[in-house]
Amino acid sequence: MGEQKNVGIVIVSHSAKVAEGAADMVRQMVGDSVPLAAVGGNADGGLGTDVGAIVGAIDKAWSEQGVAILVDLGGAETNSEMAVEMMPEERRERIVICNAPLVEGAVMAATEASGGSSLDAVRATAEELMGG
């Protein structure tokens, strides 16, 4: 587990392999300095996303500084929003879903987070990729 002082990163993909691969790339950049969790696949192990697993990933990557979620396609975003709403109220405002590409966004967000940046700064760094 990472240090609680840095923002946590959650990767949500339709594919378990994409999620694992993106998490490997994040680890290569930031090591264990950022709490990280990655989930992919539906409840049957096929392509899709699983709200319960996303809730578990947010718990795993939880940091008092908050958690930034990176998603791939539509259902990952909708299911992540649902997962955020299922979290305890005092946590919800410290969780953001970034409007950013999954792999690049996760690496950029984690790099920003590893320097101790705030949740807003982490999100902004990931979302800058969309402006390029």
């Binding site: 339709h14 539906n42 409840a43 049957d44 096929g46 392509l47 899709g48 996303t49 699983d50 709200v51 319960g52 396609l73 539509g74 259902g75 909708t78 299911n79 929003e81 649902m82």
Partner: protein, 201 residues
């Protein structure tokens, strides 16, 4: 609403989705990621597995339980969308609603679905069936359970020439035109299933 009636409603909805799973998947393969039928089948199989427990609950709690099962099991965007619809109905309905109360509850639940999907009418989604069905339901009159399935089927057909704005189908842009929206079709199937139980009553 008694337990047996709720049990039959659950059975009819699940049967309709399961029986049409391949058709829904084929529709979704044309313009989406081809998982709608399987996802909805998985969700409704989970609901069916708990049908007796769910049917024993008061109507609002039963709907919340159905919504939660769909959210947790469907695995695609349709899980949160149908889950939000069912949970929204559960929040808005009294235990023994009149038709007018049910129509009003459906209107509120549709607003929840719009917010969840960041979508609205005319974007080639389930809303293009739910909105006209709610309007016909609210207008009331005779033979609702006979008329609403026809309204739903026509509304689903009307999504064929629409261009998708939301969801995976929107990636196709103009190429989404000419196919029925799978979410519109599954909504139409659920309306038909619910009305068939009311027609038997």
């Amino acid at each position: 609403m008694d337990q047996d009636f709720k049990r039959r409603l659950i059975g009819a909805m699940a049967d309709a989705v399961i029986a049409h799973a391949e058709e829904l998947t084929a529709l979704d393969s044309a313009i989406g990621d081809g998982d709608h039928g399987l996802n909805m089948k998985r969700g409704f199989e989970a609901v069916l597995a708990e049908a007796d427990t769910i049917a024993a609950k008061p109507l609002p709690d039963a709907l919340k339980a159905i919504g939660m099962a769909l959210v947790m099991k469907v695995g695609g965007a349709s899980g949160p969308l149908y889950g939000t619809l069912a949970m929204g109905l559960g929040k808005a309905l009294p235990a023994e609603p009149t038709a007018a109360e049910a129509a009003m509850a459906l209107a509120r639940a549709i607003e929840d679905v719009k917010a969840r999907g960041k979508s609205d009418a005319g974007q080639k989604t389930m809303l293009d069936v739910l909105i006209p069905v709610q309007a016909a339901f609210a207008a009331n009159g005779d033979d609702l359970a006979t008329r609403l399935p026809a309204v739903a089927a026509q509304a689903a057909d009307a999504t064929v020439p629409m261009k998708a704005i939301r969801g995976r189908a929107s990636f196709l842009g103009e190429r989404s035109i000419g196919h029925m929206d799978p979410g519109a079709r599954s909504s139409s199937l659920l309306v038909q299933a619910i009305c068939s139980v009311f027609n038997e009553a």
